[in-house]
Amino acid sequence: MTFEKILFYVFSVILVLSATMVITRRDPVHSALFLVLAFFTSAILWMLLEAEFLAIVLVLVYVGAVMVLFLFVVMMLDTDKAAMRAGFVKMMPVGLIVAGTMAFEMFLIVGPQYFGLDKFAMPAPHPADYSNTEELGRVLYTVYMYPVEIAAVILLVGIIAAIGLTMRKRPDNKSLDPSEQVKVTKGTDRIRVVKMASEIKQEAK
């Protein structure tokens, strides 16, 4: 057994275990943290496949940004764990049917009959100077130019729509406008010189 094979099995076990923990832990924060571990471990598996760009981007985007925001929401939720578990037995049959159907569908489409060394030859390892990032960039910006740009525009529309839906102007909300703030002049805006007649010192009584 080669060193890479040992690594593959070790990380696969960690991945499957952490994925199981995601759905079995009661505390949603623990689930989210195990999901982070699952992402991280699958990034390592991708690294073993010599797909270093995808692996690092998985860590950068999903672990570094998406899951941070996700954890935020989960941490601030005051979850009632008893209420979450209520009706577990009642929902069980429906859940099993849905899960079973999904597993069967996946078996039909991506089942073991489509994979194996006789279907796909083992890929030859790339030389040391092979850059996965460069290759991906070359393909994305030549062959798949339009799909990339269309996907980018769709995402942009999504962002704008989300902001448009959630943003509301509240007139009673006090806020500062720094561009107005910097316009103040020391002489007139901050100091008011009051002219008044000089006072006469009062006599002691």
């Binding site: 060193f3 270093e52 690092i56 860590v59 570094g64 940004a65 941070v68 941490m75 850059s131 500062l176």
Partner: protein, 335 residues
Amino acid sequence: MDLFLDILWIVVKIVAIVLPLMLCVAYYTLAERKVISYMQVRIGPNRVGPRGSLQPIADAMKLMCKEIILPRSANKTLFLLAPMLSIGPALAAWAVFPFDEGVVLADINAGLLYLLALTSIGVYGVIIAGWASNSKYAFLSAVRLGAQVVAYEIAMGFSLVVVLIASGSLNLGEIVMAQQGSWGFFNWFWLPLFPIFIIYFVSGVAETNRAPFDVAEGESEIVAGFHVEYSGMTFAVFFLAEYANMILISALTAIMFLGGWLSPFHGVPILGAIFDWIPGFIWLLLKTLVVAFLFLWFRATFPRYRYDQIMRLGWKIFIPITIVWIVVAGFAVVV
């Protein structure tokens, strides 16, 4: 057997990087106290060792001997895991760092991406610490820091994209070599990418949660933020992680914008010949120290930013400027 020797050799190299780094971190804390003291017309620590030079050692001993207090309602596993999660990425990032031409632990061709990924997972330590402590102050701090880091990471990522466009490589060594030229000092990226240099460094200060962006600690508002419940060595590890991150950001600024190990006089007629014998490592160290000094200078000079102003600076000023500069750099490279 060969495999075992290979791994042993890598471990030796890792120790050769981490040990000096830890020593630097220890003395950086002393430097911080001394520098700020002199800026405030004080003397600073001067009791332990000659002129206070053994102070960090004494501090380390004290922290190691102190009791680690576990709050009763804290989540114990996560509480202890959090400091490790914050120092892990801070140390792992040094794997791709080139100390001189070819002197690097892992010379990978996606070094810049690797660094971005590692700095982005450093925030987990703080978030988990804030949540696992089961304390209001710690949690508020974690929320503050999380939002701040996500905002500044985008600006930082975009400024690295500009560096990537200008140098044409994701490998840190090649980024340094792309800055070599006959003008020496003026060939480095700080001049052509000046706004990006400033944005990268300021985002770095915000990422490492240092003054004036240290709202996550905010002593006056939330006591000490995420590490309010930590004591002894667990606190010390957070402390080490913060300083290791500061040194990392300083060193990366030196690599990406200040020519790394290149001599500032390289190619200049007379000065070039005089200074060329100095090894590149010394130049890199000097540049890193200058940038690291700026961190301390900031802390002694600027009052803390208000939170909404931090967010405004990150989202409304830095990100638009970096996007414009990506276009500018793209034109400059293509045309």
